[in-house]
Symmetry: C2
Subunit: 322 residues, 2 copies
């Protein structure tokens, strides 16, 4: 079935339903929460009872500016008749146990397992919110400022502020349309990128001091110890983008962050242009994508030992697919 | 005269000319070089002799991916008949001495002194490249991939990757059009943001360790000493975005970077939402805009003394326009 048919089928189902649950994957990002919240005003306007559900507690605070963020709950209503999932590749990542009465699955991940009764998967979309946008447009649904702010935020977060490979003319045309609907891009950018934590900058100070280049500058390691976290008052979220910043060094193809954990050393791997880091992660019992992967080396707390092991894997990965 | 008339007059003049110089302001940024280089393929196609001039040596290397970057020269041809300036607010910032035979001045700064024979100033444009784009569109000029890559890069750099107040639907529509002309947004983003220097990260490590919050968290200082620069091998460019990162702390309205220089202490001021930092800079003989300003306190090398002075100014600025 083509996407337009699926858009129509989905809205037929929505029209019939009375009590709808909007759900997104556990540990939600901007696209997961943004996409699900974008449908809230639309369904309310259609006279539906609507629950926005996410199983994660607490929700990521940096998204608290999304309209209706305060409506998100971790309690499912008893007698809902339709569930719509957003940005979630597989059923187990919804964080619920019982099968819903009817499930519409909206996503843009090519790996989606099509666990819904209707599956609207568009791997060409830059964000799940772009699928939602296309679906609304096709069905002639008006997108108000609140919905648009959620859709736009989802688009910005899932494209790294219009910087990823997925960005094409359709992405920019959607963004233009979102502005026409009332979105203020500078406001969204301020909310997302101008509410940093001092603890994060203090942690960067410690972490960047540990950067070690290897493989003729094509790879780099960065370390985070428990002590650094304690001294700086940093939280886990503060470590999020460090490995990306190290990958951004001009000569670097593979960046690797090592973080001391209760269980052992957590490794986060990133590649820039061609190297496949998912293979390295798999070797240590982890997983991920070609450009971003990770694993935890349990029971191991010796940074130097882990780095020496990884150097061999990285050298190999740098030679392949070149 | 309205902008459309000016676009037409400018192209009439261009058609008549044979030997054209494209010039941009000294210490060029992405918009200055991008805008001027965007016209190179267009004028060459029209059969003109074209010189892309900039008085600065060396040019910023991070822009070396711009098509025809290697054509930029600091030598003026002898017998040119038309000069077009891009993104330059006043004649003295062109870095030339003699008046050109005829000058078309294209810019988006409201402070432009209208020093040209034709002045195309559009303060509503997010970048000078948007003015160039509008001018080409109005005159039915085809924009090829090379031109579009320059225009798009200029747009991205002058909007902070679509994050500044200037971003509206027209900006996104232009971006969409640039993609249709062949621009690869991810390529431009990689060239601009994925070629970082290790020396810069090492400098951040030292600098972030000096962050001092004041005024109940509404202001923050960050220091850079000559010693830090030497130890890390950092260059001046490496200090560029540090003050912006400090301003990005959630509670901060005013961020101030102090950098030890041969002459004294250079202060860079940034505000986030309302405070006017240009007044503070003016008090110390400097200048700038409401949100970004700077000054050099000559003969003074005592960081604590300067911070104590500035604290009073900052307290005042935080109370005004609130």
């Amino acid at each position: 079935m083509n996407l337009n048919n699926l858009y129509e089928k989905a809205f037929e189902k929505i029209k019939e339903a009375n009590n709808i649950v909007l759900i997104s994957h556990i540990n939600p990002d901007g696209d997961a929460l943004g996409s699900s919240l974008s449908m809230y005003p639309i369904l309310k306007r259609m006279g539906k009872k609507v629950t926005v559900f996410n199983a994660t507690k607490p929700l990521p605070l940096y998204l608290d500016f999304l309209p209706n963020f305060n409506k998100v709950t971790d309690k499912l209503p008893k007698d809902y008749d339709l569930m719509i999932s957003f940005d979630c590749g597989s059923f187990d990542r919804l964080g619920i146990e019982e099968k819903p009465p009817f499930l519409i699955n909206i996503d843009h991940h090519i790996s989606n397992t099509e666990y819904g009764d209707i599956n609207i998967i568009d791997p060409k979309a830059a964000s799940t919110s772009q699928v939602v946008y296309n679906c609304c447009k096709h069905n002639g649904i008006e997108i108000d400022k609140d919905s648009a702010t959620c859709m736009y935020t989802a688009l910005v977060t899932d494209t790294g502020s219009f910087q990823y490979d997925s960005v094409d003319d359709k992405v920019f045309l959607m963004a233009a349309d979102m502005v026409k609907a009332g979105v203020e891009p500078a406001f969204v950018a301020k909310m997302l990128f101008q509410r940093d934590r001092l603890s994060r900058l203090r942690l960067l100070a410690k972490a960047y001091d540990t950067i070690e280049m290897c493989c003729d500058g094509e790879a780099a390691f960065v370390e985070i110890t428990k002590e650094m976290m304690e001294i700086t008052g940093a939280i886990k979220d503060d470590t999020d983008t460090i490995v990306n910043s190290v990958r951004a060094i001009a000569t670097v193809e593979i960046a690797c962050m090592l973080r001391e954990d209760d269980e052992g050393i957590k490794i986060s791997l990133r590649s820039k242009n061609y190297a496949d880091v998912s293979k390295i992660a798999q070797k240590y019992g982890g997983g991920g994508h070609i450009r971003a992967a990770g694993a935890t080396i349990k029971g191991e707390f010796d940074f130097e030992k882990v780095k020496n092991m990884l150097k061999e894997d990285i050298k190999k990965a740098l030679k392949e697919n070149r």
